[in-house]
């Protein structure tokens, strides 16, 4: 089964390529890149003229709610949302029910993905047993059965000694540690960013310091142990500064931010909009600017959506009671392309943060179209204008603050192992 992608602008930062090159995939593997490639008769051909061809996009932070919370999302629907958004791989977080802290649950995810997923679904296991922050999960076995990282995402590892040991132990095994950095005592009963909007709405605030303090701790633990750490969903000026400084002195820290943190401010909560409620919360305009600057200068390694599906009943409720999080897979690409349009990022950097870097951080053989690599490709139409509607979304849940918004840019083709799994053109 072969596939030829012809006439597109190929951007592959892993090889320093930004050129009009064709991509030939044979048996699910990249066979050749070149100009005016021809293929044997019967080869399926995609006309990519006017389109951008990149290594398949990777979202290293999604919640597919499977097992246990399938009323919000499942591996099948989540993977179709990913494909629709142009993602060929996702890493799904372990705060399912039961949590992914052991081989049995990890294998369930891997096997279900084999049967139902249209994109690559890589499970993330827990750092601690039960995600309770008390003792280490069996990371070695989690890695053996396919976990690409460990994280207690949704909650921080509050015990600093345990976090130190997690970093040391994971380094020995060679598995990435993803930190949900949050100082719980500073969050208290906060439900949104602490600022003028929280004052106006009379909602309890979460100070930026709740994130910065926790990021600083994990950066120092990484420096002390010499082990790498990846900080999930950063959202503040301070987090970016702490990580920039740490990188400059050689600390092995990487981080991600989400499209909503470089697109929206806490003013989106006005009117008690529960689709603007997430953790970390939407922050100030200065924080939004810091996320853009951090992506532009390489401080922020990845854009990840923190795709967090919730049932309408969990959002159609008083603000304090509403669940945290929004879906993001199907709006991430256009929101990120907007940064290119604003000349904040160039396309090469965009592909780095949406494909190459996540692959490197997770240690997966993706994020490149070098011959011999898996034929995961995203073909992007940067000019396609469309409107987000609940009906159009593939995700089982519709909790997005972008419903009704105009978008520019979409995945024209999402290709996994040489197979077109989504066609948006």
């Amino acid at each position: 089964m072969n596939l030829l992608i012809k006439g597109g602008r190929l951007i592959d930062p892993s090889q320093g390529i930004d050129d009009n090159l064709d991509v030939l995939i044979a048996d699910g593997v990249v066979l050749e890149l070149g100009k005016g490639l021809t293929a044997p008769q019967g080869t399926e051909t995609i006309d990519a003229s006017g389109l951008i061809v990149t290594p398949g996009l990777i979202d290293m932070h999604v919640h597919f709610r499977d097992p246990g919370l399938e009323y919000k999302e499942d591996i099948g629907t989540g993977s179709r949302a990913a494909a629709a958004g142009g993602f060929t791989s996702v890493a799904c977080m372990p705060n399912t029910s039961p949590v992914i802290d052991n081989k049995a649950v990890a294998c369930y995810v891997v096997n279900k993905a084999k049967c139902e997923a249209v994109v690559n679904v890589f499970p993330v296991g827990n750092i601690t047993k039960g995600g309770k922050g008390e003792s280490l999960a069996e990371m070695g076995e989690l890695k053996e059965c396919g976990c690409v990282a460990v994280s207690d995402d949704g909650r921080p590892v509050c015990n600093s000694e345990l976090m130190r040991r997690a970093l040391e132990y994971a380094k020995g095994i060679g598995i990435a540690v993803i930190s949900h950095a949050e100082e719980i005592s500073l969050v208290g009963e906060g439900v949104m960013n602490e600022g003028f909007t929280s004052t106006e709405l009379g909602l309890k605030g979460i100070p930026w310091a709740a994130e910065d303090v926790a990021v600083a701790r994990d950066v120092y633990l990484a420096e002390f142990t010499g082990a790498p750490v990846h900080i999930a969903h950063i959202s503040t000026v301070g987090s970016a500064r702490i990580i920039r400084n740490a990188k400059a002195r050689g600390v092995k820290v990487t981080c991600e931010t989400a499209p909503h943190y470089f697109t929206l401010t806490d003013e989106a909560v006005a009117g008690y909009n529960t689709n603007a409620k997430m953790n970390p919360p939407l922050r100030s305009a200065a924080d939004v600017a810091a996320m853009k600057a951090g992506l532009a200068d390489g401080t922020i390694d990845a854009i990840a959506t923190d795709h967090a599906p919730h049932h309408a009943d969990e959002k159609e409720i008083e603000f304090n009671l509403a669940m945290n999080g929004i879906i993001g897979l199907e709006t991430s690409l256009p929101l990120s392309l907007k940064l290119v349009e604003e000349r904040c990022l160039d396309l090469t950097t965009l592909v780095k943060v949406m494909s190459c870097n996540p692959a490197k951080i997770l240690g997966i053989d993706r994020g490149s179209l070098k011959p011999g690599y898996v034929g995961d490709v995203t073909v992007i139409d940067p000019n396609k204008a469309w409107t987000v509607t609940a009906e159009k979304l593939e995700s089982k849940s519709k909790n997005s603050p972008f419903i009704g918004c105009e978008m520019k840019g979409a995945a024209a083709y999402t290709i996994v192992k040489g197979q077109v799994v989504h066609k948006g053109i």
Partner: protein
Amino acid sequence: MGFRHKDIIGLRDLTKEEIELLLNTADSLNEVNNRDIKKVPTLRGKTVVNLFYEASTRTRTSFEIAAKRLSADTINISASTSSTTKGETLLDTAKNVLAMKPDIIVMRHAISGAHEFLSKRVSCSVINAGDGAHEHPSQGLLDMLTMRQRFGTLSGLKVAIVGDITHSRVARSDIYGLTKMGSNVFLAGPPTMMPVGVEKLGNVTVCKDMREAVHQADVVMMLRIQLERQGKTLLPSMREYSRYFGLNQEVLALAKENAMVMHPGPINRGVELNSAVADGDQSFVLKQVENGVAIRMAMLYHVCGGEPAEG
């Protein structure tokens, strides 16, 4: 001009003219409250549901009396007796209430924004009787009515508001209302109880201490400290709070000679106010309660589409 709002969620949403209209109506309705037969037929055949998710004696009673004096039928539902304890959501409870065709739901709720949430989803009027730390418009209006009765105007008054601003819905409604009416508001409280950006809510000055706020004030509004709500990290002790932010005669002497002392109640005697001040000549605490009935009558009347009151 008429009153065009279906709901009254907060004073932030009302114009100066609408606030004036409510105060004028309340002034004229006060006359009813001083009659021998304290009842007019204005809202006969209307049904008012008091839906209280938070304990309240004063506000609930005041709304109930207000509705009854206008001849409306009133029903009280409190969280302890309603089906909320069975896990029914606010929206489901409201929909069930709505099925019985009330004209107005008067609600108190511990969560900021509960009223805005509800008002967008029900056809009847919603009046906010206090939501979390957001707004308490009937309190703000009755405070302004009490001040206006005394000084004839709100414009140019110096009003000191002292206490826990962060957690106070009364403070927010007072700030929105008073600054719209041209008063100058000065705030004082421990820095742990002063919310970010509060000076942007209106024409508000944050003072370094209570004395600065009270100095030459026309009105000193003392807020209730709620130990149960405010947790243990914000203050060392009630004793120390009272030393720095309690109103006694010595501090009150810094205000103008005829200054009013106000408090939304219930008072913690010896904490926010010492008894000599609470019971003294300058205390308008009970006048506030009295005006509360008239203000709530005016609110019920106007959301039901009432015309501007005569005289």
